[in-house]
Amino acid sequence: MIQKRVRAVQDYFLLGAASIRFIFVRPFYPQDVVQQMEEIGVKSLGIVLLTGFFTGMVLALQASVQLQRFGATIYIGGLVSGSIVRELGPVLGGLMVAGRVGSGIAAQLGSMKVTEQIDALNTLGTDPIKKLVTPRVVAAVIMMPILTIIADLVGIIGGNVISTFLVGIPRSLYWRTVWDQIIAGGFSFGFVPNEFIHGLLKPIVFGFIIALTGCYFGLRTTGGTEGVGVATTRTVVTASVLILVTDYFITQALLAVLVP
């Protein structure tokens, strides 16, 4: 039992390593990458916009209640941007994309597995990892940071809506505190705000986790259509847990490395 689990973890990492190695091995499948970028990125835009906007609004609302006790409501912008850029944008965006994209990848590859399409690829002389896994991993790693930037921006705008119309803080003051918060984290290489490194390194890792987990469970699907359902569920649960766990360790590491 333990041996089986250890082997499963090993297979997961081997699949990840193979998916990266095949980025540099011919033949390349650029069309598949573009198609997956649309599938993973463009089609997730709606859900990410919605998540970002409402997260920003609720953060501003909660912050206004807490900060009012100290007469510090003018710092709403800083609190919203600090929370969203560093944590909530990447993590909530990652969890939403894990639900939408990870499950989709697992279902698609799982269906291909149970209908022997994966075997068909093999027999036609194509490595399924190169054809199916690598394009999805590359597309997710490219699109997740872009989605996160959009989610962050929309979230901060959501916070602005609440702070301006409900709390009554001038728009210019809100945006100044947003920027103050960003530069307060310090800079790397002299000009890249550390906040952005926190906020953009995570979605790269999360994108990799989401695509790899979906592919891993999809390609291991057995037991017909029921197996596809199991693969989908496992993907969402595993990817979500991995996102939350790696988020902690990335934050810990970055806090140690990027000193303001």
Partner: protein, 288 residues
């Protein structure tokens, strides 16, 4: 060459309703002598495919001491009860699986020793027709049949299209009618024919069929069987057919391997099989 299969079909069709299994076996013996000779069997040559003393097990033993071979242009059928490892034997030939012991040779090369990438090269010599056709459901019929051509051949798009049309016509499909459709828009029999067209697109030396007639009505079964015979005769490929359908197998195969209890129970010509008085073989044939 004259083509006796139309006549044979009519004769079999007339018998279908009232024949006893003994009569059918007798008829098969005579028909088979003609059919198998027409299949282009060539004796005295090195085998194109050879499984030698192959053992395979996962959690429990699947195959034990399997030895079969197929010579150039020959059609070997693997038959047996469900779950006896027939499809597994095909996966060994494709090197989708590697035996625990023994060797699997293609053109004299032991493919069990090859790396994954080398195995991909060997697979280009083979065309595989899957039980459920296994067409890529996100691609059109044209893209499906053109897939191996785009992957492994440096052909212009015009040449690819010409080849796709040729293969679709070979399997009696109208290219204009089906090329732009998705697999989900076709019937089971049509999908199977597209599967055959895709498998033969790269002009393979070896064709492998996994239950080519399962799940099809008797008329479509006849069509697919005729198609496989046509492929044998016109392209002279070496074939391995895994099937439950003894009637089709006896029409197609030059030799039949009967798998039972993880081992080869019988390997010989259909005539020898039909003439055998082995109780297991008789029981197996009696069911049809």
């Amino acid at each position: 060459m004259s083509h006796p299969e139309g006549r044979s079909d009519r004769r079999q069709g007339e018998r279908r309703g009232d024949a006893t299994s003994a009569e059918v076996r007798e008829a098969i013996r005579t028909e088979l002598a003609q059919e198998a000779r027409g299949a282009g069997q060539r004796d005295g040559r090195d085998p194109v495919i050879a499984l030698r003393h192959v053992y395979l097990s996962f959690d429990k033993p699947i195959l034990e001491d399997i030895t079969i071979d197929a010579r150039l242009g020959e059609t070997i059928a693997i038959v047996g009860e469900s779950g006896t490892g027939k499809s597994t034997a095909l996966k060994l030939i494709l090197r989708l699986l590697v035996p625990d012991q023994g060797s699997v040779e293609i053109d004299g090369q032991d493919i069990a020793q090859l790396s994954f990438d080398e195995a991909l090269e060997v697979r280009k010599k083979m065309g595989m027709v899957f039980q459920g056709a296994a067409l890529f459901d996100s691609m059109t019929i044209y893209e499906n049949v053109a897939y191996p051509l785009h992957e492994h051949f440096r052909l212009s798009e015009e040449e690819v299209e010409a080849r796709v049309r040729e293969k679709l016509e070979f399997v009696d499909l109208d290219p204009e009618d089906v090329m732009d459709k998705l697999p989900s828009e076709l019937s089971g029999g049509m999908r199977k024919r597209v599967g055959i067209a895709r498998a033969m697109a790269g002009n393979p030396e070896i064709m492998l069929y996994d239950e080519p007639t399962s799940g099809l009505d008797p008329l479509t079964t006849g069509t697919i069987t005729r198609l496989i015979l046509k492929l044998q005769r016109e392209l002279d490929v070496t074939s391995v057919v895994v099937s439950h359908d003894i009637r089709s197998v006896f029409r197609m195969a030059s030799r039949v391997a009967l798998l039972g209890d993880r081992r080869i129970v019988f390997f010989g010509t259909p005539e020898e099989m039909a003439a055998s008085d082995d109780p297991y073989i008789q029981a197996f044939l009696g069911g049809f």
